[in-house]
């Protein structure tokens, strides 16, 4: 699949993800590639206008801090980055808040929709959930609710 994001935007999303979901820093190369692939596929499936808006917003988020903090967002110390992101989240202009929300959604999608993550966040659903439920109720499943129930 050809990339819908520039190399610069890909790098920036990876840096941004470190602040949104700190555990993305622990992704290995394959994990990071999968993370980006999910995000790019989601962007590619959107109308061209939305794709452009996402690209524009990535640039705004990255470069706006230069005006007040003399550095691109990903070049600031982590605590400063978080301050800037909190400002975007609470921004008085609705479009800025919504743009930031959209980027967060992409990052959450890239991270939390990977099946290999699910056991780590104690999410192990089963096609036969009632069996687990009944076992838990009977006491037999006590303490094993989040163990392997993949089908």
């Amino acid at each position: 699949m050809s990339s819908v994001l520039s190399t610069e935007h890909r790098s920036f999303i990876v840096a941004l993800a470190r602040r949104i979901v700190p555990a993305t820093a622990q992704l290995d190369a394959a994990g990071e590639a999968k993370f980006l692939q999910i995000i790019e596929a989601a962007i590619a499936s959107r109308p061209v206008m939305v794709q452009r808006q996402i690209g524009l917003f990535l640039s705004v988020l990255r470069w706006l801090p230069v005006l007040r903090l003399a550095g691109a967002l990903d070049k600031l110390p982590p605590a400063r980055q978080d301050e800037v992101l909190r400002w975007f989240q609470e921004a008085p202009v609705p479009l800025v808040r919504k743009g930031f929300w959209g980027l967060k959604v992409l990052i959450y999608m890239g991270y939390y929709s990977r099946p290999e993550l699910l056991a780590m966040i104690r999410y192990t659903p089963s096609r036969h959930g009632n069996q687990v439920l009944h076992a838990a109720r009977a006491g037999a499943g006590s303490g094993s609710l989040t163990q392997d129930h993949h089908d």
């Binding site: 949104i20 979901v21 499936s45 939390y112 104690r122």
Partner: protein
């Protein structure tokens, strides 16, 4: 362009289209030809993997994240043989009498609507789950509502052989949910109705549908080869849902002006709220939606329902980011969830339009009254979570990411109205209604009370776009009841319409 001809063409195969198809299948015995044109694929059983992103992309338009024009809200609506009945939770309520009176549609009778609704409750095996199949997420909600003195009831649901996979919104992997893909469409096909999947209707003109069949590479292949089709029909029934039905009419060359077309769109804007328990609870094992609380429908205009969502949907519905967000996400087995549905008024400015390419665009303003309702609901839900034993609660309009149990006497200062900011608060909707509303005045409605488009006796609508105002409950049973009326009217007028 390949030409086809039918007596009746039904566009869409969800609660409305599936119902009309089954009801009109009787016409096939008299030699009439009835076809259903469905945009989405007909999935194989092996396609239902339960994987969140994969299934969302397969089953929903825009993966379930169709944005309104101002990007304040996402809309989820299904695209499959069976439409949104493939992805609902199967909760089966009939329209409340008070809501019906608020609708105020002349020539629509409440008792008649309920009689038809009951027919589908029976047909879809609607019943209450036994207590043994109700998980902690649901039970805790019920007990907390009782403790707080709130009215709470159990949802009847339409399952057969439910194994509690908890994946209803991703398409049941156990074929238990009795949507139109399991009940009405197979029956219609057995009786002679043709269903064409992967078939997008691009536009209509009088007695004619222009459609494109594609191969999306998933599910069973369409009965028709990929290509462009011109389909002539004596009667066309539009059941493509509250976004796509108005959009299709707006793209079409219709002889009649319809000033209300696309307008009065409602959608029960929704919040997903989360409380964290000190120990694991059974939440994603078992059916996800067993109870609802309608205590606040009249006074504060919101309905509460139990729910349990998947990791990505959960993550995007939490306000905030960083370590505290990750910590909450890492405890999926301790989360209790509540879905809030705001009862939104029908306003002409909330509407479906189309862009230059003919794609639907939804203009929806989250007005102050809706945000007031959602704000009030957050405080009520926080109380419910704590009454249920949660140790902390995430209220997106709180000044803190998590409210601790010891802080519940300060909810009015911790959760404040000024924090109800679209963009900060994640708002979504899965109950899309209106846009082709029923009525007797062509200035403020699109169809009559039998779903016939004003001035066009060959064109009917049979889906939730008929709703003149919000349903104030989960809408599918009411859609089926209205579609049943539409089918009856077509049969009554068969001699005039189909010969």
């Amino acid at each position: 362009m390949i030409d086809k001809e039918f007596d009746v063409v039904i566009i869409g195969s969800g609660a409305g289209g599936g119902t009309v198809a089954k009801e009109l299948a009787a016409l096939c015995r008299d030699g009439k030809r009835v076809a259903v044109l469905e945009w989405g694929p007909r999935f194989k059983e092996s396609d239902y993997t339960g994987q969140e992103l994969e299934m969302a992309n397969k089953l929903y338009f825009e993966g379930g994240g169709f944005l309104t024009r101002d990007k304040s809200m996402t809309l989820a609506f299904g695209k499959a043989y069976g439409g949104s009945t493939v992805v609902y939770t199967g909760t089966s309520l009939t329209l409340p009498r008070e809501t019906f009176h608020r609708w105020g549609v002349p020539n629509l009778d409440y008792d008649d609507l309920i009689r038809r609704s009951r027919k589908y409750l029976q047909e879809n095996n609607v019943h209450l789950l036994p207590e043994a199949d109700i998980n902690d997420n649901n039970r805790l909600f019920f007990e907390a509502c009782k403790k707080l003195g709130y009215r709470v009831d159990q949802f009847p649901i339409n399952v057969k052989g439910c194994q509690g996979a908890g994946m209803c919104n991703l398409g049941c992997p156990n074929a238990a949910k009795q949507g139109t893909h399991r009940v009405q469409l197979p029956e219609a096909e057995r009786n002679g109705v043709t269903v064409i999947s992967n078939c997008r209707v691009d536009r209509l003109s009088e007695h004619t549908c222009y459609a494109t069949v594609t191969d999306p590479g998933v599910g069973h292949p369409s009965a028709w080869a990929p290509g462009d089709y011109r389909i002539r029909a004596r009667v066309v029934v539009l059941a493509a849902g509250a976004v796509n039905s108005p959009a299709l009419l707006l793209r079409s060359e219709l002889p009649q002006r319809l000033p209300a077309l696309g307008r009065y769109f409602t959608c029960h804007p929704a919040l997903i709220l989360v409380g964290q328990h000190p120990q694991p609870i059974t939440n994603y094992y078992g059916h996800p939606k067993s109870y609802y609380c309608d205590e606040f429908v009249d006074s504060k205009k919101f309905l509460l329902e139990t729910c349990m969502y998947f990791p990505f949907v959960t993550a995007k519905n939490l306000a905030g980011f960083g370590p505290e967000h990750s910590a909450l996400m890492a405890a999926m087995d301790r989360l209790q969830m509540i879905l809030v549905l705001a009862i939104d008024p029908a306003r002409p400015e909330n509407r479906v339009t189309i862009d230059r390419q003919g794609n639907p665009v939804v203009d929806y303003h989250l007005s102050e009254d809706i945000m007031d309702s959602l704000y009030e609901s957050m405080k009520v839900c926080t109380r419910i979570f704590f009454a249920a034993g949660a140790e902390r609660v995430h209220a997106p309009a709180s000044h803190k990411f998590l409210i601790e149990a010891g802080e519940q006497d300060r909810l009015d200062t911790l959760i404040t109205r000024d924090q109800m900011k679209p963009g900060k608060i994640s708002i979504s909707s899965g109950h899309l209604m209106g846009g082709c509303r029923m009525g007797d005045d062509p200035a403020t409605s699109v169809t009559d009370a039998w779903g016939q488009v004003h001035g066009m006796p060959w064109l009917y609508v049979a889906d939730s776009s008929l709703f003149p105002k919000a349903a104030e409950i989960n809408p599918y049973v009411t859609i089926m009841a209205l579609a049943d009326r539409v089918a009856e009217r077509i049969k009554e007028r068969g001699r005039e319409l189909l010969n």
